[in-house]
Symmetry: C2
Subunit: 383 residues, 2 copies
């Protein structure tokens, strides 16, 4: 023992992280789990600790260990909620900070306790609030994206106008359209908001314009404010690019109070390997919802990406399962969706979903208003 | 063709991303590369584009393709620097935003051009500035960490005092010590800074105290300021937890102007799979340096983590190779370093390195000043 004997005043409340371990046998798995419980908290070997509250309470506790198959074991490790300092950054760190550098360990699921969740607001609007804002009670929502990078602000606005007129519910920008010289943020957002507003007045509908505010740390708050001022009805943020807590901060900002759309850019690596990283459930479901995303975009099975139906179901579950502390987020399957696939997607995702069809809208032909109308009619015929 | 014909005014300058692809043959690899060049820029299939500057200039360009072995191909794709909007967030997005969700694609290396680099300050101090600040001209530097989470602020200060007295050059905090109730940030940093300052006055040495400011987005700037005001001589940030651009923002902040230490927490998953994610070279070398880290912590080969000597050499190369636009960062191998291994580590890393020995210092026995002195003498005997 090297460190001083310490007495702590703790709530006794703990949260649980479920990990899947690659191990030779149960004994090996137990040793790995014990290593995680130290690495993620005190970062020293147990023999340096006194027989005190740090050892007994702060070090993670292996609550259960179950064999999945000959090489895989599921363990549940609990941590005192005070280890997180009630900060999202430090919560992520306790869950997987250093352990992310150890091969063969995957975070399956977070089981967050009430005393921890009360420090997070979660989605401000959630499914209910977003439906109310759009005036759509039951059917799936329809979203498309402005593209491609390189167009001028007037061209984006023209496309936005034509699509909005056709009855798309939500128009977001591609996440790669930020503040390039071809279409500077302020001009682009102003013109697109105006164009969509004009289409709404003409059509009597209420298409929501979601501006991409993914931006440098010293500019993102300003872009969010400006987007709101210019008439955007929602904000898209890629938490992988700006940090999870930056999204949480903006979602909880009372002066903004706009629906938040989480984009999956830069997050793919976390989920791709079945034996490392974190599950789709955590990365595209639990974390966006905890960090205040009203809707979470991910790449659906059957598109041009590789997520499996099981992975997508895990995302939907995490985004929507009942939680007294967090409103449900809308799942937004994307990445190669088409008109033809809508019935199949509806059977899988049900009605509480936002279908993001972008390339699949443009590919229908040069009359974007007609394309949008076809998609809208197809969605309306589903539910 | 769906989108309007667009004429662009571009510099013509391009930067290059080197990817390794898993593919059945060269034809397959070329198709994947072409897919990346679209996905990372315009996000639409080529046939929707006009024969214009967007297609010719903005879409990524496959510059070369080389077979590595029967299943792997290296491709170089160039992008117009304007696609990045000269923002670090969008640069990361062009490099690997959506493509991170495609299996079998790994970012090997970034080749950033002058016109892009001029938008980044890079390390403010770098190796030269940090050496000057510490008054150490040639030998490797010696760093340790305050631990474990759970100690009170006075206990951390006492440990810091005893270690500083023994001649450690840099004392950082564990990255999991943030603002827990046991040792609130302000009290802890104030007491530790005072204790190390007192030790410096007694010993005549100049141990640098590096406070961990990894924190929620709405608090990190304030913690950095407070740390400086309280006497910290450096700031540790985990860019994986707070976002790369948050670190850049703080590194470039003239009012702070403190050395930045990058911590690898949450970043492990990016590098673990040889066929996905990004290399150690990029994640622990190129990105920290670009984002202004004066020193980059990573887990060395031969410790309790799994990085190979080749991976570590790649990090060192990226952190230190000559670059007219970016000062060299100090590599900080860590994660299970010991007194006994110093000669071996020195042979590998040379003198321009910071050895981070934390558990290995505490494990030497209860007299922390004596432990620190032994490590200091061992490092002095190396060079």
């Amino acid at each position: 023992m090297i460190f001083p004997h310490t007495t702590l005043t703790l709530s006794g409340e703990r949260f649980i992280v479920h990990y899947r371990l690659l191990a030779a046998d149960a004994t090996g798995a137990r040793a790995i789990a014990r290593g995680i419980s130290l690495e993620q908290t005190v970062e020293v070997s147990a023999e340096l600790l006194a027989e005190d509250d740090i050892r007994a309470q702060l070090v993670g506790r292996v609550e259960s260990l179950a064999e999945v198959d000959a090489r895989h074991f599921d363990v549940a490790i609990s941590y005192a909620i005070e280890t997180t300092a009630f900060e999202l950054t430090q919560l992520l760190n306790v869950v997987f900070g250093n352990t992310a550098m150890q091969p063969g360990i995957r975070v399956l699921r977070l089981e967050l306790s009430e005393g921890l969740l009360q420090h997070f607001q979660g989605p401000r609007f959630g499914q209910k609030g977003l439906r109310k804002r759009l005036g759509i009670a039951r059917r799936p929502l329809l979203c498309t994206a402005l593209k491609p990078m390189g167009l001028s602000a007037p061209d984006f606005a023209d496309i936005a106008y034509r699509i909005a007129l056709g009855g798309i519910d939500i128009i977001k920008e591609d996440h790669g359209i930020t503040n390039q010289p071809f279409a500077p943020f302020e001009e682009r957002v102003g013109r697109c908001a105006e164009a969509i507003d004009r289409a709404n007045r003409e059509s009597g509908q209420q298409c929501l314009y979601v501006a991409n505010i993914t931006a440098p740390a010293d500019q993102i708050r300003r872009r969010a404010e400006m987007a709101k001022k210019l008439g955007a009805g929602g904000l898209m943020i890629a938490p992988g690019l700006v940090g999870w807590d930056t999204m949480r901060m903006l979602a909880e900002d009372e002066a903004l109070a706009l629906p938040i759309f989480a984009h999956p850019a830069w997050l793919g690596t976390f989920v791709l390997s079945p034996e490392q990283g974190l599950t789709h459930h955590v990365i595209f479901g639990q974390l966006p919802r905890l960090a205040g995303a009203d809707a979470t975009i991910f790449v659906s099975f059957g598109g041009r990406f590789s997520f499996s139906p099981e992975a997508c179901a895990g995302i939907v579950q995490a985004a929507t399962e009942p939680n007294p502390a967090l409103a449900p987020s809308f799942p937004i399957p994307a990445g190669g969706m088409t008109l033809e696939r809508l019935p199949e997607l509806y059977r899988f995702y049900g009605r509480d979903v936002i279908f993001l069809i972008a390339g699949g809208l443009y590919a229908l032909g040069p009359d974007l208003t007609a394309n949008a109308r076809r998609l809208r009619e197809a969605v309306e015929s589903l539910a």
